[in-house]
Amino acid sequence: MSIPFTTQTINLLASILLLIAFAMLSQRRILSLINLFAWQGLVLSVSTFVVAYSTAQRHLYYSAALTLLLKVLVLPWLLHRLIRKLNVKWDVETLINIPATMLVGIALVIFAFNLAAPISQLSESITRGLIGIALASVLLSLLMMITRRKAISQVVAFLSLENGLFFAATSATQGMPLVVELGIALDVLVATFIFGIFFFQIRETFDSLDITHMEKLKDD
């Protein structure tokens, strides 16, 4: 039998998602980082849409729309605005140099796939192996959070982590119950606002968004 078209598309989108995650990991400039994030959101919503179409679940359409609205339009816009307001320096300093990060990233992807292999074996739904990809992208964004030095890039990493999760929630499993998704979405939104508040507070306290300033609290 040949794999149905929808599944092919979803797999394609999944790989694009992973690709974008890598791109973000290697990205040096904040603006394009945010754009990538927006793209990731787009991919996410499309894949959700496809899943919704193929499994004919009404509420997945909603969540696809929600994703489109939130992750592609609102959040990037907010971030852009923040950057303009706080006129952050354009480029991102990383703690570990990019190539090393990439290598670790690849290792992580392999790790994630191995981990997910047994699971995807027993999944008879249309979306085999997507768990692995979701897991990989989650781990990648986590890695990105560890390696980035600016508050904003950390936040973006955090949000893309949420994207990975969302992908797992919608595509890998045919969508969580709607209540949950709404809740999640709400939380993400609020989180972003609070992040925004923090940026301003941090900015006015440390007059920089470099979180290496915030290493005073420790045991010595």
Binding site: I194, T205, M214
Partner: protein, 485 residues
């Protein structure tokens, strides 16, 4: 009937949050805060009584589930939230008087306090693992702003760390939840029911073990961050030390319990499905690690609130260990320890709060002779410390006795480690608290009379629990322990 009670329980704080969002800057905001908390407490009592009478119940087309286990946490949460609101009334006034807080900040504080209570109650009563997650996230979000209330660099830093670390943790927990759903939907089919704990609990035998293992790892790491298990604990001391004291009290007194409750729920599922003791062993490992490392941390602390934050880590580790061991006695002991720890620790934080206000610093070298300036604060701190250190006849000793004796029977190798850690903790904490309470003082009196009824109320309860446990309470605990297995 019961759904009404639940509705009241949940809506009161929500509504209160709304009210205070409007009137938060009025002079009587504090009283309103206490009032709402009191109403919540009443609702919780009513609910508890009902559940004890009629056993576990599900309401609102199964979205909410109340059994002996979470209802006891609900009661505890409502009670401590109430006493804390009583304490925070004069405390915050004094802070304002010292010019540390502005009215807007208080405004934020009061409304957030109510919302925080709401999220915790939601997380406790929700039946849907997804909703539990949402509530936990919301609890984080509400407390983040409370931690950074003072807007000092330190508090900002603490809040930021708290936010990021717990955010990440929670996100991982979400992944765990998704995996859970992924496993569940193949048994329970698509749609709403697949995340309902009650249903999952019924079919836990058929759930796919490999997935659940994976899921539990994510859930444990996720919620474990919130419990403050070593090595995920890093945010905890900062947040406790830099936030306002009432917030520290509710954080370590309540939020940690709520997170632990979530972990327990998933543990029940996972071990049920695996038929092994996988989750239990993981929890025991984390618990033991937390106890030991926290004990080692204690002796180097300079900041008093930080020190007691570490002691919270230690006790959470102990509880996790107990729950990990499982079995009726250990689980019983774990819940008992949850109770007494919440009561004692919040009492300690109350006393510490006033001690800090009197001496104007959190650095322990500069807090001296509390007995001299105010015996109540001094004795409150001293007795609270002795209680938390597991000195009989306080209740903490009772639960520790149960935990240790059970461990001695089931896992003899663990007991010396535990006891040595407890000994180190004793030396560290008591050696630091003693000069704070005794000796000559440098502190100054306060503009407002401190509220110390909560302190002694809590300590009295703990003392009673150590000497005499009312039969119905014991039965209640037993039933809950039976539920958790």
């Amino acid at each position: 009937m019961i759904d009404l009670q639940l509705l009241v329980l949940l809506l009161t704080p929500l509504f209160g949050g709304g009210l205070l969002a409007v009137f938060g800057s009025r002079r009587w905001a504090a009283e309103l805060n206490s009032l709402m908390s009191f109403c919540t407490f009443l609702a919780a009592v009513a609910l508890t009584v009902r559940v004890i009478d009629f056993g576990p119940q599900v309401v609102f087309n199964e979205q909410f589930f109340i059994d002996q286990f979470n209802v006891f946490l609900v009661a505890l949460t409502a009670f401590v939230a109430f006493t804390t609101s009583l304490f925070s009334r004069p405390y915050m006034r004094i802070e304002q008087h010292h010019g540390k807080l502005s009215t807007q900040m208080l405004h934020l504080y009061y409304s957030m306090y109510q919302l925080f209570t709401f999220t915790m109650l939601l997380a406790l009563t929700a039946n849907n693992m997804g909703i539990i997650w949402v509530a936990m996230e919301a609890a984080t979000l509400t407390t983040v702003l409370l931690v950074s209330l003072y807007r000092t660099p330190a508090s900002l830093e603490a809040a930021w760390k708290y936010f990021i670390l717990c955010g990440v943790g929670i996100a991982l927990a979400l992944f765990g939840t998704i995996l859970l759903y992924f496993a569940a939907e193949r048994v329970l089919g698509e749609g709403g029911t697949a995340l309902l704990w009650t249903h999952l609990n019924q079919v836990k035998g058929d759930l796919e073990p490999t997935v659940l293992k994976l899921a539990f790892v994510f859930l444990l790491v996720g919620y474990g961050t919130k419990i403050g298990l070593v090595p995920l604990h890093s945010w905890l001391p900062d947040a406790h030390a830099e936030g306002p004291t009432p917030v520290s009290a509710v954080l370590s007194g309540l939020l940690l319990n709520v997170a632990l409750c979530a972990v327990m729920r998933s543990k029940v599922l996972v071990d049920g499905s695996l038929g092994t003791h996988f989750a239990g062993n993981l929890m025991m490992g984390f618990g033991l690690l937390s106890v030991v490392v926290a004990a080692l941390f204690l002796s180097r602390q300079k900041d008093i609130k930080r020190m007691f934050a570490y002691s919270s880590i230690e006790h959470m580790g102990l509880i996790t260990f107990a729950f990990g061991m499982g079995g009726p006695v250990a689980t019983f002991a774990g819940m008992l320890h949850m109770t007494v720890h919440s009561l004692t620790k919040s009492a300690i934080f109350f006393a510490v709060g006033h001690a800090v206000q009197k001496s104007g610093t959190q650095v322990m070298e500069n807090i001296r002779g509390m007995l001299q300036i105010s015996p109540t604060v001094g004795w409150g701190l001293m007795l609270g410390t002795l209680a938390i250190l597991g000195m009989p006849p306080f209740g903490v000793f009772a639960s520790e006795f149960l935990i240790i004796t059970t461990a001695m029977h089931d896992h003899p190798w663990a007991t010396p480690i535990l006891l040595i850690a407890l000994g180190i903790a004793f030396a560290a904490i008591f050696g630091k608290v003693q000069p704070i309470v005794f000796g000559e003082t440098t502190a100054r009196p306060l503009p407002h009379p401190p509220a110390l009824i909560p302190v002694f109320a809590h300590l009295l309860l703990v003392l009673i629990l150590g000497l005499y446990m009312p039969p119905y309470l014991a039965n209640w605990y037993r039933q809950a322990a039976a539920l958790l297995g």
